[in-house]
Subunit: 447 residues, 2 copies
């Protein structure tokens, strides 16, 4: 059988179709990925754990499966953020407390769900410590190795962008899916909160932590969403969305002054592009209550971080990142009253943002302040989550669409936002909008 020249370049859906047609084996597919990782990872450093021999062993086992026993994700290689338990690979959280190479003997729910349908966990992708974002990890941006890939899902974003794996799992507590997606020029979905079980995924903030995905196509995000049964009440139409007459609400939010050149230009360019397609574009000003969210978010994050890390703090205070220590010691003096103020005021805003978003095919908002910043030692800061945390704690569905470039020519994306549990619709709209951004936004991957 002829094997396409570079399987690693395919989207997952394309590769899986070839496997289904017996034109490619799972082994051939992962061999292509292993080659790419061998070639590139000494520079990109996206993997916290990667064992090619074990990957090949699993691939051969999948190839040996009788056709009728194969799942809908048969042969799908997945990068797994290293804060998610994998029964066969270590989980280290980038924490010196968890440096053991011995796997914890259970799969986190996202991994279990994907494996149950035939996916193959390619390895563990790097993360910042416990997915908190005070300091970056060793991973670099594949498009410009002097820059951050973003965080906390650093390895997932970088590996997908770099053709080392077609899709990857990440988590977002502030902006840890959308930011790396934007900085790496790929698609990223932060689904509605709790659409995917977070069992076996390290807790930082129960209210904010959300499991999400990275990919190089909307089709692959649809494949993953479908695997997790993330369905709207009403399925979107089978035919693509026509942008003619579609309606978009552009939301700057209260943190707009933090946007710099790349994002400011992308925001305006996106309006022009959508209008050129015949879409209706409006600027949306959120009610002033939404301006309180950054403050309220900190109350919730700090209070929930305090209880989440209590055990680690009691056992190993000297091995914890300073940000976690600040939560544990409650350095911000967040009272229970403030904590509840955060819970209750934000809970009241969730149906309001749903209602606002429902007036449009999607809201459009910045994903990041700009393209990825240059890495600065020793912090290796992964960039700002200011444009993400509001949507995260509001629990709405958020999709990063790549296509734009910053002043240095590095990628940056914009976010589409849909009401809670309208994830399918968001992807349907994202497909049409993403095509325009990719074709006319001004950036294309040189990798």
């Amino acid at each position: 059988m002829p094997v396409p020249l570079d399987l690693a370049r395919l989207d997952a859906s394309e590769a899986l179709a070839l496997i289904r047609k017996d034109e490619v084996t799972v082994t051939q597919y992962v061999q292509a990925l292993i080659s790419r990782i061998d070639e590139r990872d000494p520079v990109v450093r996206a993997w916290a754990y990667f064992d090619p021999a074990y990957v090949l062993e699993q691939a051969r086992a999948l190839d040996a499966l009788p056709r009728e026993q194969r799942g809908p994700l048969h042969g799908l290689p997945v990068g797994v953020k290293d804060i998610m338990l994998t029964k066969d690979m270590p989980t280290q959280y980038r924490s010196p407390i968890y440096s053991s190479k011995v796997p914890i003997g259970m799969d986190s729910a996202p991994v279990m769900t994907l494996r149950a349908q035939g996916a193959l966990m390619l390895g563990k992708t790097t993360t910042t410590e416990f997915a908190t974002c005070h300091r970056g990890c060793e991973t670099v941006n594949p498009h410009d190795t002097s820059r951050t890939p973003g965080g906390s899902s650093s390895g997932s974003g970088a590996a997908v962008a770099d053709f080392q794996v077609p899709v990857a799992l990440g988590t977002q507590t502030g902006g840890s899916v959308i930011r790396p997606a934007s900085f790496n020029g790929i698609y990223g979905l932060k689904p509605t909160w709790n659409a995917i079980s977070r069992e076996g995924v390290k807790i930082y903030s129960l209210t904010c932590d959300t499991v999400g995905f990275f990919s190089r196509s909307i089709t692959d995000l649809q494949l993953l969403s479908s695997a997790f049964q993330i369905r709207d009440d009403a399925a979107p139409p089978a035919s693509p969305l026509s942008l003619k007459g579609a309606k978009f609400g552009f939301v700057k939010t209260c943190v707009w002054p933090r946007a710099t050149e790349g994002t400011v230009k992308a925001f305006e360019r996106a309006k022009e592009l959508l209008e050129a397609e015949g879409a209706v574009v409006e600027e949306v000003e959120l009610p002033k209550e939404f301006d309180e969210i950054p403050r309220l978010y900190q109350y919730v994050l700090s209070s929930e971080g305090r209880s989440a890390f209590l055990g680690d703090y009691l056992l190993n205070p000297s091995k914890l990142d300073l940000l976690i220590l600040s939560h544990s010691r409650n350095d911000l003096h967040v009272t229970r009253k403030k904590h509840l103020e955060g819970y209750d005021k934000i809970a009241a805003l969730r149906p309001i943002i749903d209602e606002i978003a429902r007036k449009y095919d999607a809201l459009v908002t910045p994903s990041t302040t700009d393209e990825a910043p240059v890495l600065v030692e020793p912090e290796r800061h992964t960039g700002e989550a200011v444009f993400n945390l509001m949507w995260t704690i509001l629990h709405v569905a958020v999709l990063n669409l790549p296509g734009f470039a910053g002043p240095a020519g590095c990628p940056l994306g914009l976010s589409l936002v849909a009401p809670r549990f309208e994830d399918e619709r968001l992807l349907h709209v994202g497909e049409a909008v993403g095509r325009v951004f990719a074709e006319k936004g001004g950036w294309a991957s040189a990798l």
Copy 2:
């Protein structure tokens, strides 16, 4: 050194004080518990996993610790509900899917936090399957072995009541702490939601699942709460609450018609007892929006259960309890719209119930419909959670106080309820009220 006759009868705080004074060793203490378990557990069957040799090994290690390395919980024996991971004991969730005897190599956050302070995990206590309450487990009520101990924290409730362990960890999604506490005639605290990290505790409903405790005294609940740093904004006074002039709001709730003889009498008796102490007692009628909670609760439970068990459902549908299957298949046809209606309407009621509860020293409400029902094969139903689920999903602090008897002479309790994050105050009030209920409520343990 003279050893008190029956260490197993002591409250944990009493036993720990003796250990601190070198009047008792940890080994002697756990030997007394092991004897009690040997004698009683063939009937009560409260333990899913119990290895006396390993317990003694840990006790000896604690005894060998230099004094300056001993934690505030040094030597505290704890029963751990078998849905919480323990790195050194298997975790089986009472599910045929998880029958392996191999421990998962990590401690859940509650276990880690207690061990970090010197506690000793005595064993794993029985649970209903995944802490869902469709069918009961093998455990019986120690006060009347023909009756249920309640569930889902069946073993934790029974073992504490039966003097097999002084305190135990449980979880509550509907009424799984308060119900077994009531049926076993012991104290049970369901703290404010997320006051304790649920890392490593099997997820059923993120919004409802709450880690809680069982004990035979308020002092022991205070010991545990303090170990988890569950602190109010304002610490309650050091001196005991005087009931004279204290104010209690008696809340029947919309499910009051489900209360039968034992609970109806206990409710009235409690009013009389408090009034006799000089307290002010009022009946509180909740706003009519609260009547919707049972319906909204089902929306949330079913929808969250659906995503929580997706992985298990895909891998092992034939090995799942029917209730879980019904969530997985969405037999109740809960739409996303209903799911969000549940989230948003209940979120709006949380500050309202806080405000109502803040007008009183505590709200008083039934813990169970009556004393524990007689076990009926094959379901071995653990009783109703109708009086608990409202408070669980409202996230408020709830304390079961024992002291009353049902028509068959079996124990039943009443709940005190306080606003979110007023757990310390709730225990302070509970100390005074619990003393009256215990002395004059009409029930005392014959064990």
